[in-house]
């Protein structure tokens, strides 16, 4: 169920968020004043064409990048004014990332990739349980090079959620996968959401995936174009692309 409204305190609160990049004489306005609230227990899909600013927004929310101006609050902490140490702690304790190209450490097995996170988290789940959640327990001892793309992505999801994060940020999690594999990955994300209640933000080009969200936010040219609330999520079986 989509849960939103002024009566609930948002997990993230972004106000007039601006991000510009400069390369020599060229200045690119990636975000041009974004106002956005994200709440606990919801799945949000950010849709938009390439270069619309969705990845920039996700990076700022996840503490990977800083805004040029404006404010982003994670609960009561202002991320824009936080230093590197605070952002590192924020990522370590609250955020799980899933990338399009998995970013697993090639020299560690699936299980060890997860242990890399659980060893530095305050109340992680058991690495095996995290793998079990994404249906990868049987392949725990395989190295990334011994796994298919979909399997690698599921390990990457397990690694992201093993710390029991408050927020799971996924950047094109199915972008490099075929339909069948992609669907399995989305199932894993949905399962984690329902079992842990994590706020999930998914970036995608793929409008079909929007069906699984509570809210769909369309980003166009660095601004929020449209926020659509979906009273009912579509079952994954009915999502096709």
């Amino acid at each position: 169920m989509a849960v939103s409204g002024p009566e609930r305190a948002p997990v993230f609160k972004a106000r007039n968020l601006v991000k510009t990049y400069s390369w020599g004489e060229v200045t690119v306005h990636a975000l041009r004043g974004v106002d956005l609230d994200l709440y606990e227990h919801e799945i949000v899909v950010l849709l938009g064409p390439s270069g619309s600013g969705k990845t920039t927004l996700l990076n700022i929310l996840g503490g990977l990048d800083s805004a040029s101006s404006g404010e982003v609050f994670y609960r009561e902490h202002n991320l824009v004014t936080s230093d590197e140490d605070v952002l590192t702690r924020f990522r370590r304790e609250h955020v799980g990332f899933v990338f399009q190209y998995y970013n697993l450490i090639a020299s560690l097995t699936a299980l060890e990739n997860i242990r890399l996170v659980t060893e530095i988290s305050s109340s992680p789940m058991k690495p095996e349980d995290a793998l079990d959640l994404v249906g990868m327990k049987a392949l725990a001892d395989r190295f990334p090079s011994q796994l298919s793309g979909g399997e690698q992505q599921r390990v990457s999801i397990a690694r992201a959620i093993a710390k029991r994060p408050d927020i799971l940020l996924c950047d094109e999690p199915t972008g490099a996968l075929d339909y069948e594999t992609g669907r399995k990955v989305l199932e894993a994300i949905q399962k984690i959401h329902s079992e842990l209640g994590t706020l999930v933000v998914i970036i995608t080009h793929n409008a079909a995936i929007a069906g699984m969200a509570d809210r769909v936010i369309r980003i166009e040219n660095g601004r929020i174009g449209e926020i659509r609330i979906q009273p009912e999520r579509l079952p994954l079986d009915e999502i096709r692309w």
């Binding site: 990845t55 920039t56 990076n59 996840g62 990977l64 990048d65 590197e84 140490d85 590192t88 702690r89 990522r91 370590r92 304790e93 990332f97 990338f99 190209y101 970013n103 697993l104 450490i105 090639a106 020299s107 560690l108 097995t109 060890e112 242990r115 890399l116 996170v117 060893e119 530095i120 988290s121 001892d141 190295f143 990334p144 090079s145 011994q146 690698q152 690694r159 710390k163 490099a176």
Partner: protein, 776 residues
């Protein structure tokens, strides 16, 4: 066809890879520069030698004789194959100057006859008849003593003091490398040569129409050994010391040795430098091709052949090399000039004309380009095996599998982060080995170049402190009874004294023969070691003559009387400089059938009494040469010491430059490869410094492993280099001090820290979102 657009990409790549371009260019410049400098100096020395020998008619065969009449000339001339004969009067004289230098006075050819071993006038004019006899002074002695045309000097000739006027300064092909009899090293301040007209020299020495030195030119088609035999037969009744070929003429032999060393230098060090350049080119290109998988695949998709693309990257490598070669030519020319100038002080050729020849430059270019092609070779293969479709897909993760470490009982106990470092290090053993070998080259270079100073210090310590403890040594004109030593031993300030019997001999074994001094050593010597209990010879004879302990060696005394005797070799000793033969003094006396006597005395004197004792010794009519150890040390420092220190310094500067280029480049490449992994770890919540240090430890492991390999290889290569340069005159002990290792450690450690700090700054300044998307 490769289009110009692709060539434009080379320029852009050179700019974007400017650090790598610069470091490769530095290495190539060092390598090709050294090669050009050493090869051109080799050429310059060779040419100077050939020109001087040709122009000044250097003889083919020589002989020395105690005294023979000039009337033998026609007999010598009639030896089949002899084309020219030159007979010279030679007299050893003591020059009245501080330090009591000695010299050889040699007659000039008769007026109107060109003669052999002609003098080359550097300044002034040839001697002419005058009330004060005129001489031509050897350039080395003239420069060392600051003498020139018009100056006078007095010398003791035949027991009488004479005043001579210097009419000119000259040199000759037989005195290019002038070294005093029995002296281990050349010392222009203490030994010289002078020429004067035969008539005047005959008058001064009262030796009449005699000669002491023979020089012959022979037809190229005649057997030298026949000429030697005939000449020996003619000279034997007159006290011949034996005839010999040009290759055994002392000055020529030392020149040839130096030329050989130059050749070794021209090969060894450039090979190491260019080897390292090959390593860097390989690393840089391999990394570049990995980064440019997509552009390469795109070019292939556009219709370029893999050959075109391979040529593109080869051109890139060769462009980096070309930048280095340009600087290398300039550097080599400068260094070559410097080297040649330093040779002028040792080798008195009429001129050493240095010009970097086309062959040296071509050789430098060829060697450098070969390094480039070799370095690019394996990368070319990887370009060819790259299929466009595969390259356009995201890169697959690097392959890993469980190893022995995982299966061992330690496996589960190793923290995940350490496991990651270990697996990364061990997963590609070939690459790990390659990196370690590359880094160990930096160690090798530093150790090899620094070790020269250690070798020199050890030599000084061994030769001048441990083996010889005297303060003053004096050689006597003729042996005197042992009992007369006491008069010197009782001089005020003399703490102890020791007497030695030195006998000039011709030593023979099988087909070998050599003129040298046989030293009669007192029992339990304290002032000059080692003690001997039988005939002890330099190790050189063991290697060069195949002598073993127990062999009998023939000796022919070159003193009056011409006694011959034989001795059994007891053991071999190591002489760092020169060769020696030592025998117990009593044994020598009995072989000569003479009473106990000495002709060399060593004194240990309190420092404050040295001037007084010297004054008393110089007043003695018996002494011919008096030397203090501090004089010998100073002369050593001026000559060989200076040469070794200068070469070592040049090499150290090169080695440090190369080590920095090498290490910084290795660190840069290894971090560039790991940047994405560092970013991934940071995204997962590891602080930047933890993530960075984790990856730093991988490079640190390589650096640590390179250290022992580099130290051992540096040690071995130093030994090999010394062996390759080994000449009869030197038998240095390879000593590499803890200081050399420590200095290498400090320099390379500083490079490592500076390099990692630099990478830390780069990594930290790369925004995380960019780093996470970096290609691995």
């Amino acid at each position: 066809m490769v289009t110009r657009a692709l060539d434009l990409k080379i320029l852009r790549s050179l700019m974007s890879l400017r650090f790598q371009t610069v470091s490769i260019a530095v290495l190539v410049a060092c390598g090709s520069g050294l090669l050009i400098a050493a090869w051109s100096s080799y050429d310059a020395l060779q040419l100077a030698k050939l020109r001087a020998y040709e122009r000044l008619s250097f003889g083919d065969i020589f002989a020395e004789v105690k005294e023979a009449p000039l009337s033998l000339e026609s007999r010598i001339r009639s030896i089949p194959g002899v084309r020219e004969v030159d007979l010279r009067l030679v007299e050893s004289v003591l020059i009245r100057m501080p330090g009591a230098p000695s010299a050889q006075f040699i007659s000039l050819p008769e007026p109107g006859t060109p003669g052999l071993d002609r003098v080359h006038l550097k300044s002034g004019s040839l001697p002419s008849p005058s009330s004060v006899p005129e001489i031509l002074l050897h350039e080395g002695f003239a420069l060392a003593r600051n003498l020139g045309p018009g100056d006078t000097l007095s010398a003791i000739v035949g027991g009488k003091q004479w005043l001579f006027r210097i009419s000119g300064v000259a040199l000759s092909p037989d005195s290019v490398y002038l070294i005093g009899p029995g002296a281990p090293l050349p010392d222009d301040t203490r030994y010289g040569m002078a020429w004067m007209s035969r008539k005047e020299l005959e008058r001064v020495t009262r030796k009449g129409r005699t000669f002491q030195r023979v020089s012959l030119k022979v037809s190229p088609d005649v057997s030298n050994s026949m000429v030697l035999e005939d000449l020996d037969r003619i000279l034997k009744p007159y006290g011949s010391y034996g005839s010999f070929l040009r290759k055994d003429q002392l000055s020529n032999r030392l020149v040839e040795n130096e030329i050989t060393e130059q050749k070794t230098l021209a090969v060894l060090f450039p090979a190491i430098f260019l080897g390292i350049a090959t390593f860097l080119i390989h690393n840089t290109l391999a990394r570049l091709v990995q980064l440019e998988r997509v552009p390469i695949a795109t070019l292939r998709a556009l219709g370029y052949r893999s050959f075109d693309i391979m040529m593109h990257y080869l051109k890139l490598a060769l462009s980096m090399i070309a930048v280095g070669v340009v600087f290398g030519i300039a550097l080599g020319t400068g260094m070559g000039h410097l080297l040649s100038r330093s040779y002028q002080a040792f080798f008195r050729f009429p001129e050493i004309r240095f010009s970097p020849g086309a062959d040296a430059i071509l050789l430098g270019l060829f060697a450098s380009l070969s390094a480039g092609i070799l370095g690019a070779g394996s990368t070319m293969r990887s370009i060819r095996s790259l299929t466009p479709a595969e390259a356009l897909r995201p890169p697959a993760p690097q392959r890993f599998q469980s190893g022995f470490l995982d299966r061992s009982f330690l496996g589960p106990r190793i923290p995940v982060r350490i496991r990651m470092v270990l697996r990364n290090s061990l997963s590609r053993p070939l690459r790990l080995t390659w990196n370690i070998l590359g880094m160990s080259c930096a160690w090798i270079l530093l150790i090899m170049s620094w070790s020269w100073n250690d070798i020199l210090e050890n030599l000084i310590d061994e030769q001048f402190h441990r083996l010889s403890r005297e303060t003053i040594s004096m050689s006597l004109r003729a042996p005197v009874k042992d009992s007369s030593a006491d008069s010197w031993g009782k001089l005020p300030g003399v703490l102890e004294h020791e007497t030695y019997r030195i006998l000039p001999v011709r030593m023979r074994f099988a087909q070998h023969s050599k003129t040298l001094a046989l030293t009669g050593v007192p029992p339990l010597p304290r002032l000059e070691l080692p003690a001997v209990d039988g005939l002890a010879l330099s190790r050189y004879f063991q290697k060069a003559w195949g002598l073993n302990a127990g062999d009998r060696v023939e000796f022919e005394s070159l003193e009056d009387g011409k006694k011959t005797f034989s001795l059994t070799v007891s053991h071999f000793i190591r002489d760092a400089i020169g060769v020696s033969a030592r025998v117990p003094k009593a044994r020598l006396h009995s072989s000569l059938n003479e009473e106990s006597s000495f002709n060399r005395i060593l004194l240990r004197v309190t420092p404050s009494s040295v001037p007084d004792v010297l004054e008393r010794l110089e007043a003695s009519p018996l002494g011919t040469s008096i030397r203090t150890k501090s004089d010998i040390l100073a002369s050593f420092a001026r000559t060989l010491g200076k040469l070794i220190r200068t070469s070592s310094l040049v090499l150290v500067v090169f080695a440090i430059t190369m080590a920095i280029a090498l290490l910084l480049n290795s660190i840069r490449i290894s971090f560039a490869e790991r940047q994405k992994e560092i970013a991934s770890l940071r995204v997962l919540g590891l602080p930047f410094s933890t993530a960075f240090d984790l990856l730093l430890s991988e490079t640190a492991i390589q650096w640590v492993l390179a250290a022992p390999i580099g130290c051992v290889a540096g040690n071995l290569l130093t030994r090999a280099a010394l062996k390759a340069m080994h000449a009869e005159e030197y038998d240095f002990t390879v000593v590499i001090s803890a200081r050399t290792y420590a200095l290498s450690f400090i320099i390379l450690g500083a490079c490592f820290l500076a390099g990692s700090q630099w990478m830390r700054t780069i990594c930290r300044s790369t925004p995380l979102p960019d780093a996470i998307k970096t290609e691995e």
